[in-house]
Structure formats: structure tokens, C-alpha cells
Symmetry: C2
Subunit: 385 residues, 2 copies
């Protein structure tokens, strides 16, 4: 009835097989009379460590066992098994669930009699937080990301540029999209990179700036691939950028507002997010570089002329809010922000207590942003690593 | 240097010419010794009326004159003129400004001596609210939407389906986008519709549900065009949908959550938004129909079996919040919600005080949603107009 996509069929087969193996091990425990358990790496802050060699956040070695016969764990154990069976069923039935509808798929009330024979009712889960946690348990227990299990989600990443890709049965030319762009799919691992004629990847924080650079022909002028995550990037955008870097060897430059919020977006692309560090191994791009806007772009430095004049500074810069200052102080504690160049950037921010939006540079003229500021910064290697 | 797009060149020429004519009339006042003024339709709630014949919100006949010599209006008058000159300059210089960078482009401090000879300083504008208001003044004074003036903005609308379009120099086949989608451009009036082999347009509130329906091949199975505005739709998505309806004669069905927030999204597509009613003439799709999820889909009705079983209802429905009830009562006051069918829908909601997400239907199985619920509702014309 529906069009079966051979790429998806192969992905389903692989995920279903891995998921089945993990679940068979649990069954094996039951058969052999051992208490059924799942061994799962701990997803706690204390077990989240920065691996300086690989330059990404990873989960440490702490594991815990979800043991069915441990009363405190029984509910979570059963939730994880329930979710695994729903995901498995969706895989073999060619479904494309979302995390929200997985919550609905599994939500029901179980009636049972307690030890005293009293009829009781309990919900499999009440909140999506519980079903989401079960999905994360399965991700870390199997090493499969939810994307590998064909679980879809809301995506807002876009790309244009000098390359062609294969997605599903189609070949898409990312240089022939008119004024629009390609909305990146939920399962970026299934994308095949075909002809690439680009020298770098520019990741832009803001969708509107992405559109400006696209429309003025930036990626055509400087053979490149232009990506936006439209604010905090989703998983698919991060994975897509990582693959461009890792598989094609393209340098990745990140352009954000000059403020702690922008630095954080760069940080999520580069080392991963702290709350979901188990994803970083596949989603982070440790070689990504912060192209700007930097404090020295605004104020200049020894041997560096600022990009803004005195009067532009006066008109364009915005006073930092208390929460910006607080956020900057937090970022200073992260290992990957403790390089000399980042220390200088953050200290300069804390001293001046001002920030600047990319749009202020576009306000100087889009041509300035597209054909002077960005290419010049790349050419003289004026980025922060 | 940059690639000049002939479609954009033509659009620029047209907008610049209209903008110049309006400004020349102001200049003419000065030359002829008349007080310079701009006649602008009032964008107030009391001048926002529902035109039952056309089925959209429009501005009434009330106008006001921004008179330069009226001290209370001088600042706004000058801001409007300043903005007009910045937009004009951007048009002739092949720039693609955003509303945010137009704010920066015009932001500066004017020094002057007052009548007593004291040196004073005043900013052209302090907040983006002021520069945005100037853009809206220009839109209503010239009849040009900001999109016609090549002013770009953040966009989140996506489309896939059985049609090809021309955008800029490229032809894009919306049926050959793999698992991804086409991100709709900021200037949808510049899109040319080429080969269309579709019988209807389905607008889905949520991006994740859009992706599910896309991935399972909904639009291929039922020759159609699938659009999402990813929540509250932006202007470009609304204009794109309107054009599909008006120019191609395709029926438009809107699928949202079953709650006042979903109804409001439908309402914005159908009649326009109340705060920006002057856009409705171009952005609203008065013939759009609310396909669901409706209260009778959940609970059934005389002669209609509900789509949910008793136990599904128990698991899937969500208790309405106080603000949902409040919003529903507000919507009841709008003319276009005062049809018998809508009254019944809203009353049923107020009586039951529950809501339902589309994902709950996908939770019953994506195939149920894609290959039973939606096509059946369309076939038996079970929508609300």
C-alpha cells in the first residue's frame, strides 16, 4: 500500500536485529533462572565526562543494573521492556513513530490484585518524561540512537550548498533549490553524500541570516555548504554537520550572536549537550570552530582592527543581562572553554558586559557580512577553537 | 560578484517603483508648500472587520494622516520616511534585509539644537517595535507586503508533494526530496507553480506528524500536497497555502490537535490574524476546512461512530487547562466560529473539558492516521467549515 523505501527497510532490519538480541539476553536470564536485568550506563551528570582526546562529552564507565526483582527498579524495568517491544513492533510493521506517539502507544492502565487480593490499577506511564527515559535507556543499552530505530521527531535544520545527496530513493541537488532550502530529515544517517564541490561548512545560528546568505549567493561565491539549526540545534542537524566534517573532511565554522547563548549553541555542535552526553559520540563535531561574532571583532585587539566603527558600536551593541553574565560564568567552568583564546573572549565579555547580534553586521550591509567579514575571518584563520 | 537572480531583479524593480511613487507624493507636498503627510489605513482593532462575503479579516475604511507638522506625529512620520529610504536603498542595492537588520540599519543618534539653542540628542528608534511599526506603515501605505520588498525573515514552513515549482533560477520537484522536505522561501509570491498532479492540500499543524505522513508515503498514495507550518504558521507558509488554493483550485484541509490552540492555527490560515489583518487579503485562505481532530471524532455523534474506543479515550485524552477553556470562550465570540457546526464543536469541548493531540491518533498506528482516518474524513466530507 505505502511506498516501501529500501533504505528504510535495511535500517529497520539492522535496528530490529540489535534490539532483539538485547531483549533475548533478558529472556535468557529468565530461562536460566537468573533475575532478569538490563545493564545500562549511568546517564548522570557525575558520569558525564569530557574526553580531551576526542574533544567530546561522553558517558563514563559507571553502569547500573535495572533489575526486575529489585522493587525500586521494577517499574522502570517494565517500562523499558514495554518501550522496547513497542519500538520493535513499529520497526517490523514499517511504522514511523515519534517520541510523542510512542508515549501514547504504550500508555494504558494495568489492573492487578496485590498480595492481599485487592484489585489495583496502575498506569504504564503517566508523563512523557517517563516514556522518553525508557527510550534513552534503550538507546544506551543497545548503542542505537532513536534515529536508527526510525523514530522521527520535529526537525528544523536546513541546508543548501554545492553538493548532491541521496535520501531515500531520490537524489537531491542542494545547489538547485531556488530561494528555498532542504529541510534535513530526522534520520540523517540514511543520507548518502554524492558529489561534493565545497571547501567548508558554515553553520549559522539564525534562520533569517541563513536565508540572507543563501539569497545573496554566499555558498556559490565561496564554494561551501550552508547549514542552520534555527536556534538550539536539533539532533538531526548536529548529526548532519558531524558527518560533513568526519566523512568529507570539510572544516566546520559556526557563526552565532556574540553572547553566551551563541557560545552555548557552538558548544552543543562541538562537544555535545551535557544532558544527553551519550549522543555526543555520534552527534558532536569536535573540530568545529567558532568563527564569530567575537568580542575582538567588536572591539579590536592588539594587531586587530575592529569590524565596527565607534559610532556603529554605540548603535549596535546591547547591554548584557544579568542572566547572560551568569551563563558566561557557568561556561567558564567547562574544560573546553578553558583555552587561552576562550578565556580571553569570556573575560572580555565579563569586563564590557555587552553583546552583539549577527544582524547588526548584516545591518552594516549584507555584502559586508557575506563578502567581507566571513571570508576574511576564514582566510586569516581568525576563529576560536 | 554575487549571482543576480532575474526573478528577484524584476521584483525589486516593481517594489522600488511603487515605493518611490508614494515617497514622491510626499515630496510633492513639500514642493507645493503643503504640509507633508502620509495617508495610512488605521491598524487598530476597531478598524479590523470580518468581511463575511470574502470570509477574511480586513482593515476598514478608517484612515489617519501622519502629518509631519503635527508635533505628536513628527517622530513617527520621520521614522516611516527613514525606513522607506532604507528599504528603497536595499532594493536598488540588491540587499536582502531582515526586519531585525532594518532595525540596525536605521538605528542612530541624531544631534540637534532645540529652539533655545541647547544641543540635544535623539535616537531614530530605540526598540525594534518602533522600526517594525514603520515597516507596517509602509506596507499599508503602499499596498506592498514586506515580502514584495525582498525583506526576508525566519521561516519554518515545509512542503512535499506531487508538484514541481520554479524558485529563482531552479526547478524543484517536490516529489523527489527523499526523506527531507522543501523549506518554503521568505518570498512565496516569486514561486511559479509548474506541473501539479494533486487533488488536495493537507496542512498539518505539527512538524513531526508532517514527517510521519511524508515518510509513510501519504501524499503519494493520495495524490496531494503536504504542508506544515510547524506550530503557529509564518507569513510565507500562509501565503503559499493561499496560492495553492486560489491559483490551483485545490481544496485545503487543516489537521491540528483537538483543542482551542489548534482551532486558532486553523483560524489564522483561514481568515488571517487579528493583529495583522491588513495581510489577510493576501495571506488568508477563506476556503480552508478544518479536517480534525474534532470532538465528534473522539466521542462520536448521532450517526457517527467515534474513532476512539472507550479505553483509547481513557488513555489518550488530556484534561483541558483553565487557559484552554478561556481561549475557547474567546473564540466563540468571533463571527467565523459562529456557524452551527463550530458552535457544536466548541460547546462539546466546554462540556467535556478535554482535548486530544494528533499524536494520539498516530499512537493508534500511523497507518490508521494516514490510510484510514484522514482519507475517510475527506471522502465523507466530515470537516468543519
Amino acid at each position: 500500500m505505502n511506498v516501501v523505501d529500501s533504505i528504510d527497510v535495511e535500517a529497520r532490519r539492522r535496528a530490529a536485529s540489535i534490539l532483539r538480541d538485547v531483549m533475548l539476553r533478558v529472556l535468557d536470564d529468565v530461562i536460566k533462572g537468573r533475575p532478569p536485568k538490563l545493564v545500562i550506563p549511568k546517564r548522570t551528570l557525575s558520569n558525564t565526562i569530557f574526553d580531551p582526546e576526542r574533544g567530546i562529552l561522553v558517558l563514563g564507565d559507571d553502569v547500573f543494573e535495572r533489575n526486575m526483582l529489585d522493587m525500586g527498579e521494577t517499574r522502570r524495568f517494565m517500562q523499558t521492556l514495554l518501550m522496547a517491544s513497542i519500538v520493535y513492533q513499529a520497526l517490523v510493521e514499517n511504522e514511523y513513530p515519534t517520541i510523542r506517539d510512542l508515549y501514547y502507544r504504550g500508555k494504558h492502565t494495568i489492573s492487578y490484585r496485590d498480595l492481599k487480593g485487592v484489585l489495583r490499577e496502575e498506569n504504564t506511564w503517566d508523563e512523557q518524561a517517563e516514556s522518553d527515559a525508557a527510550i534513552r535507556d534503550i538507546e544506551v543499552a543497545t548503542g542505537l540512537l532513536r534515529e536508527h530505530m526510525l523514530i522521527l521527531s520535529k526537525e528544523k535544520g536546513k541546508v543548501v550548498g554545492n553538493m548532491r545527496i541521496r535520501s531515500g530513493p531520490d537524489v537531491i541537488d542542494l545547489s538547485k533549490l531556488g530561494h528555498g532550502a532542504y529541510a534535513i530529515e530526522s534520520t540523517p544517517d540514511l543520507i548518502e553524500f554524492l558529489d561534493v564541490d565545497a571547501e567548508f561548512v558554515l553553520v549559522v545560528e539564525k534562520d533569517a541570516v541563513f536565508q540572507q546568505l543563501h539569497r545573496i549567493g554566499f555558498w556559490r561565491q565561496y564554494k561551501s555548504i550552508l547549514v542552520t539549526g534555527a536556534g538550539q540545534p536539533d539532533r538531526a542537524t548536529r548529526r548532519f554537520v558531524r558527518r560533513l566534517n568526519e566523512e568529507l573532511g570539510l572544516p566546520v565554522y559556526v557563526l552565532t550572536d556574540s553572547d553566551p547563548y551563541g557560545w552555548n549553541i557552538y558548544s552543543v555542535f562541538k562537544v555535545g549537550s551535557i544532558t544527553l552526553s551519550y549522543e555526543s559520540e555520534r552527534l558532536a563535531t569536535p573540530k568545529a570552530k567558532f568563527l564569530g561574532v567575537s568580542m575582538t571583532d567588536i572591539f579590536g585587539d592588539t594587531n586587530k582592527k575592529p569590524y565596527l566603527t565607534e559610532s556603529e558600536r554605540k548603535n549596535f551593541i546591547i547591554k548584557a543581562k544579568e542572566r547572560d553574565v551568569k551563563r558566561a560564568r557557568e561556561l567558564m567552568n567547562y574544560t573546553w572553554f578553558q583555552t587561552p583564546r576562550w578565556k580571553k573572549e569570556i573575560n572580555m565579555f565579563l569586563e564590557k558586559k555587552v553583546k552583539l547580534e549577527i544582524e547588526a553586521l548584516a545591518g552594516k550591509g549584507l555584502k559586508f557580512l557575506a563578502f567581507q567579514y566571513i571570508p576574511e575571518k576564514i582566510q586569516v584563520r581568525d576563529w576560536i577553537d
